[in-house]
Symmetry: C2
Subunit: 199 residues, 2 copies
């Protein structure tokens, strides 16, 4: 009776507050909502294999690429990052909703394979606010900040083909917006068509 | 900066609990969200002109048809019912969201004129529950109940081209679903594109 699950992809520039937001959203929803990415980078202190990432060697990762096991993957700063297809497709078939945290290019790759995916872009209330937030992290060089802003500008341009924009302004607002999007998407006629087919 | 308003149309078969639901939704939102229909039928006791309906004579109504003043209109049991276009288009331009309570045929007429309209169909959790609810109103003849069910079947078939289905099961559920849909629609990229255009 129940429709297939929905795949929600959340992206957002560095400084958008996306990670905090996503943690907040997942806390309100079922634990099974989140998909774990695969990476070849070394675990950071405290990171747990299978929780934060699935940690693989380059050889293992490239084997997975060859076998077509990724919905999307990318290489960044010498490391691979990828989203494994099989667990996601299986859970969607079971009617489960899934959340992915991937950047814009990867998200648009996923949409080519799963056109029903729901793409959400998280941004601060203005671009100047994004810049302010990035500069507040005084740990980074001016060069690094400029690079991040340049990447953000590119992402903003590509995000016009997203479905939704949530605004990370006051705490809780963006979380409430995402929970509303999840509820609304579950009310889509495509998800509830069985109710109409009865007659 | 703010995008245009959104037009939400709620339809649902007789017995769906749509009227109670809509009253509940409007209570949670701003008063300006509701558009008043025009009719030629006589006011019922307690109905106020300009609140429940705008009451017009047949001559006045037909003049409005000739002038193209309706988004949609229909004739039912010898009376006209119509949705005036001007106040709605003006409020949408001002960025206001609007709710309309119209049946399926009218809603699909409106969508031809305003393709961005969001169409929501309210139904009980099953068609047999709809039948049970209609029969519980013991005031109606078997003939009348059969007619209502036949109309409902037709509406269910046409509702596949709606956007959302909300389920009027436990009190409050469908209202929460509609409020989520409203929030989600306000997060659409088309409504917030100005945030991306800044860069």
């Amino acid at each position: 009776m129940k429709g297939k699950g929905k795949l929600f992809i959340i992206s957002g520039p560095s400084g958008s507050g996306k990670s905090t937001l996503l943690a907040e959203v997942l806390e309100k929803l079922d634990n099974e909502y989140f998909s774990v990415s695969v990476t070849t980078r070394a675990p950071r202190p405290g990171e747990i294999d299978g929780v934060n990432y699935l940690f693989k060697t380059r050889e293992e990762f490239e084997g997975m690429i060859t076998n077509g096991e990724f919905l999307e993957y990318t290489e960044y700063a010498g490391n691979y990052y990828g989203t494994p297809a099989e667990p996601i497709l299986r859970k969607l078939e079971e009617g489960k909703d899934i959340f992915l945290d991937i950047e814009v290019v990867g998200a648009l790759q996923v949409r080519k394979k799963i056109p029903e995916a729901v793409l959400i872009f998280a941004v601060p209330p203005s671009f100047s606010e994004l810049e302010r937030r990035l500069r507040k992290r005084s740990t980074e060089s001016e060069q690094k900040i400029r690079e991040r802003l340049e990447v953000a500008r590119r992402e903003y341009k590509q995000a016009v083909s997203y479905d939704y924009i949530v605004i990370t302004d006051k705490p809780g607002d963006a979380c409430r917006e995402i929970l509303s999007i999840v509820t609304a998407e579950q009310c889509r006629v495509s998800q509830r068509e069985h109710l109409l087919r009865e007659v």
